[in-house]
Subunit: 319 residues, 2 copies
């Protein structure tokens, strides 16, 4: 089968064997989405080597553990816990210290014709959710999962910093919970995607001192030191910053500001798939408006290059 | 009167006028304590210029607003809010955006024979709390105030990083709430102060991988990038880091670890004085065991130098 692999510091399309099932489900991938994390991996994040990609929709071809899934259209939770440690059994397998992560950590990923995942990681996609929408399940879960970590109400002023894919999904998925949500970014055309979902768009260049110390919650999804500092500027004392982006390397931050203003910083990575699929099935969030380009898997290297271009949102691979 | 002042980038003892009362209370300072923040200010933190010092005990000499305080022995909340803004009226004057802060921000401080503070900032010291104990009210309030931001129970494993004054006060004041509290530092003799208060002492060099990911709450009071990283090492996924120290400049941090492990970082600056005075009055915390040296105010410059010496904890000035 074909797979887009990052091996020996080089990204290339390779012909490899269909993965052995080994007690897991075999999924034929229909489509996959390129995430910023894929781009960061190719820049060295996490020292990953193998097939990249973790956003996908596919059809189950083999599944000994749950034969009823065979033939079903599914998406998949990307963290595969060991299933036996205390964290897996008692707390949350997404934080299992031995976990592998699809296309991110010691597990071949989704930019390929086939992948395997444990049956318990798979979620059947409702019929009214299209393939193009379903590939957004994982990032939408990550965005929507913020609500499990931070309480939002309509009195709160909320800002999302960053108009990339994750920032847009945060703003779009939280807008039904809060009518005072703003998105701050550098790109008018990206901000417009969120504005179509009742989010107030603000260009970064228009952020001024009058906005400082006026937000209760700021979601930092720009993944830059500057975004972190802007978040500190905007937050009220004792405000909450939700930190969403993973990127390679160190950020150099005036940490004393967190102490002086008694800010709470909430690290937020993954969300649950079931609520995200429900949100997609309700049809209020038009995630597919974020697709900028589609490529066949064969042109995966070119697609990855496209994903880093200015103004480009989601790039999709078709198998 | 004599005052220890940081003016034009130079620390010196000066003869200045007794401050004008201007609607506030005039307090004759008996003793003051040197805090790391004083040392940071002399290194440039906050761009402060004036009389330094914010930990004190004194006697009220004039107080038009509350004449019953005259003659009373008091300590003082260091943040003086404007008293009229929304933050002061509805939320917390300690976070007033217009506030001055004793010896830290546009308000002459406590390393002097006299100071002024609004009457509402003063707290009468119980008779069974000595002068030497009373000067610890402010830092003890800052340590003990953690309990208003983070819930601790006996099942949780808690570590304090840093065996300086603030770290010791955190460990000593939280020990009655949690039997699993450890303090991690570089100095056996400092750690011993906390060990006398039922805290487990761990030398930093003995922290190994077996301790990684085993703590529910880590209080970072070392004020160093390395301390922050150690805190991330020690925390379980979804654990809480309480950030206590203010220091000048930027910290360079692997922020992605906060996201991946979904850590919550809680900035924590000030606490309330009343519970801290109550704690001192109960007599279970022997804060005075942290006093390393006493100097007359006249030798304030020398005392500040002493405060930066290896192995030295609290240095006290006597007026």
């Amino acid at each position: 089968m074909k797979a887009l692999r990052f091996i020996g510091n080089e990204l290339k399309l390779e012909e490899v064997a269909v993965p052995a099932v080994a007690g897991e489900a075999l999924v034929r991938v229909i489509r996959s989405g390129i995430c910023n994390t894929d781009v960061e991996i190719v820049r060295g994040y996490n020292g990953f080597s193998g097939t990249i990609g973790h956003e996908f929709v596919g059809v189950v071809e083999e599944c000994a553990d749950a034969p009823e899934l065979v033939g079903k259209r599914v998406v998949g939770e990307i963290n595969a816990g060991c299933g036996v440690c205390e964290q897996c059994v008692k707390v949350d397998s997404r934080h299992c210290p031995h976990r592998t992560v699809l296309g991110i950590d010691r597990r071949d990923g989704a930019h390929a014709e086939y992948l395997t995942l444990p049956a318990r990681n798979l979620f059947v996609v409702p019929d009214n959710v299209s393939d193009d929408q379903a590939i957004f399940t994982e990032p939408l879960a990550a965005a929507y999962g913020i609500l499990e970590q931070v309480t939002l109400d309509d009195k709160m002023r909320v800002a999302v910093i960053g108009d990339g894919k994750l920032g847009l999904l945060c703003a779009m998925s939280l807008a039904p919970q809060n009518k005072n949500i703003s998105i701050i970014g550098k790109h008018k055309e990206k901000i417009a995607v969120a504005e179509a979902h009742h989010v107030k768009g603000i260009l970064l260049e228009d952020v001024d001192e009058a906005m400082h110390r006026t937000f209760d919650v700021v979601i930092e999804s720009s993944g830059s030191d500057a975004g972190f500092e802007t978040a500190l500027d905007l937050l009220k004392p004792r405000g909450k910053m939700v930190l969403k982006s993973t990127f390679n390397g160190r950020a150099c931050i005036e940490m004393w500001r967190i102490v002086v203003d008694e800010i709470t910083v909430v690290g937020s990575r993954c969300g649950r798939f079931a609520p995200a699929l429900e949100l997609l099935a309700q049809g209020n969030i038009r995630v597919e408006s974020m697709i900028s380009a589609e490529y066949p898997l064969e042109k995966g290297v070119e697609a990855m290059r496209k994903a880093t271009e200015k103004g480009v949102l989601k790039v999709v691979l078709k198998m």
